[in-house]
């Protein structure tokens, strides 16, 4: 009852029209933090969430690379199995994540995420440049002047870029947020 009253007060505060955007955002974080305390599910830490997202990105990257480079080798059956395996891994992760409550991000997490995102953007541009260069070199070697792209390749390229971005971003975050030596209580 006391907690419900607290939530009611917080939500009433949120409805006030004269609040600034920053105040509203801070209040939402406070509400989220209160809800997190009351949630009976086991928590998944920020590092745990980043690890799951890293695995998700890695699965997307590997799948896209295989589909772009080894499509003929795998055949339609192989591609189907690959898609099913990656989908199963992703569904398992979503199921696992849903079973737990997510630890809210604090200011240090947001700072690290911003740094990781900027690094991921640089890697993304590098991957795009390398891919473009590879396509041009291969086509020139084969004497092909036109670049033909089908919808599958477009989808796989988009998937690869998203996978690379997620892998680098969350990998960089885990590196930045590594535990300092001699953690004390």
């Amino acid at each position: 009852m006391k907690q419900d009253k607290k939530f009611k007060e917080l939500y009433e505060k949120y409805k006030k029209p004269d609040m600034t955007r920053a105040e509203r955002q801070e209040l939402m974080e406070t509400i989220y933090r209160e809800r997190y305390k009351q949630d009976p599910r086991k928590p998944i830490t920020q590092k745990g969430q980043a690890l799951l997202n890293l695995v998700f990105g890695a699965v997307m990257t590997v799948e896209s690379v295989l589909e772009l480079t080894c499509a003929r080798l795998l055949g339609s059956n192989g591609l189907g199995i690959l898609s099913m395996v990656s989908m199963a891994v992703i569904l398992l992760m979503i199921f696992f994540e849903h079973k737990r409550k997510k630890e809210p991000a604090d200011e240090m997490t947001k700072t690290f995420m911003l740094k990781a995102a900027s690094l991921a953007a640089v890697c993304e541009l590098t991957v795009m440049f390398v891919m473009m260069l590879a396509v041009i070199i291969v086509n020139n070697a084969r004497g092909i002047n036109n670049i033909v792209v089908n919808s599958d390749q477009q989808f796989d390229t988009a998937s690869l870029l998203l996978g690379v971005y997620m892998t680098v971003r969350y990998g960089a975050y885990l590196w930045l947020d590594r535990a300092p030596a001699c953690e004390e209580e």
């Binding site: 604090d106 200011e107 240090m108 300092p180």
Partner: protein, 67 residues
Amino acid sequence: MPELKTRLKEYRAAQNMKQGDLAELVGVRRETIIRLEKGQYNPSLKLAMDIAKVFGATVEEIFSFED
């Protein structure tokens, strides 16, 4: 370049408070408090003020810049 020094650990020990308890009071993770105490992270003004409020001290008493 001056470095941020903190007396956070002293204040916390004086009140027999764990890092996790302090983290919960100011709304951050325990890892943030660990890094603050080690001087590996510069807090925002709001966080510094919240921490000072918990200990009943001023921001300058807990955080200082030293060469």
